[in-house]
Assembly symmetry: C2
Homo-oligomer: 188 residues x 2
């Protein structure tokens, strides 16, 4: 097992790393970004919080609401921070959903600038690869031109954005320099 992807778990842990929150707070946070990463239902959220407690990755501070249901404010523990760090350090799988990248944007931002850059570069590679494969599919041509064209448009836009952000980055220590893939033409 060794613990695999388990996305929501770590996203919640990441939110707790930024500030202590209640389950409801977490829900509201997600609502604003629902399109990008979806917002979890109570059916997944609350069980996960309980699991985090059991594994001692988080603790609760119950504020006994006067006349109302007590607010349970969850905070991350040291063990939780470590677990999160481990998860953040491993690059997103190639087949990982867009969601996974946004999660890393969300968490790595404000945690470790160098890590953020690494994730951006990694994503750039993946998107470039996908773009190339789509271009191949386009050349082959089936009955699905529109869908392929749509994919090309989105992937291209994402590449442009990634390059923009990477360009503005304080550019510290380019860690590796070996690989130069460049199998893809990015439109100017």
């Amino acid at each position: 097992m060794i613990a695999g992807t388990v996305s929501l778990r770590y996203l919640i842990l990441g939110l707790l790393a930024q500030r202590p929150m209640s389950g409801y707070d977490i829900k509201r946070f997600f609502k604003g970004l629902a399109w990008l990463i979806g917002s979890p239902s109570s059916g997944s959220l609350y069980p996960i919080l309980r699991a985090l407690l059991q594994q001692e990755l988080a603790t609760v501070h119950v504020i006994p609401g006067v006349d109302r249901p007590p607010r349970k404010i969850y905070s991350i523990t040291d063990a939780g921070s470590q677990a999160l760090q481990v998860w953040l350090d491993q690059p997103a799988a190639a087949n990982a959903p867009l969601k996974a990248f946004v999660m890393r944007l969300l968490l790595a931002d404000g945690l470790a600038p160098a890590l953020l850059a690494a994730h951006l570069r990694q994503r750039r590679k993946q998107v470039a690869a996908h773009l190339a494969s789509l271009q191949g599919t386009a050349a082959a041509g089936g009955g699905q031109q529109l869908a392929v064209d749509y994919g090309l448009a989105l992937a291209t836009a994402e590449l442009v954005w990634l390059d923009g952000v990477l360009g503005e980055l304080p550019e510290q220590s380019p860690p590796e320099r070996e690989e130069r893939i460049d199998g893809v033409t990015v439109p100017g």
Copy 2:
């Protein structure tokens, strides 16, 4: 129950509507578009095919492979076409994943041009709404500027693409004309 979303089912049905295919053919088709819609595993694909048979939405024609496992070529039935049509006619839910739209692009293309236009317009509305909501989130400002900016970039690019495709469309009978949302500024 009334049968809900159940995406993969209808996507497979849609592929069978275009031409008869074996399970393996379907797999290969998906591989080329894996980034956009993911490619299903055997664990989901084959059970779905069996279910389609049971519900008589598809039929098999077994080609007894000489020396090799027989290829099972699945074809859509009339009942299947009808079920697919019903599903295609209902607009994608607002919270539906990107996947759902791509699926409609894939299926509506080559089935019914007017339907395609309707889906494109519908998607345009949704993306515009999401863009607006993201702009709101951006204005409010939390710790998540980068993620929001990313979302804005993608949504904007998609709007541009949608407008491009809609512009090139043979523009037949604009069915409704009431709603003019336009709460969003698309960069020129």
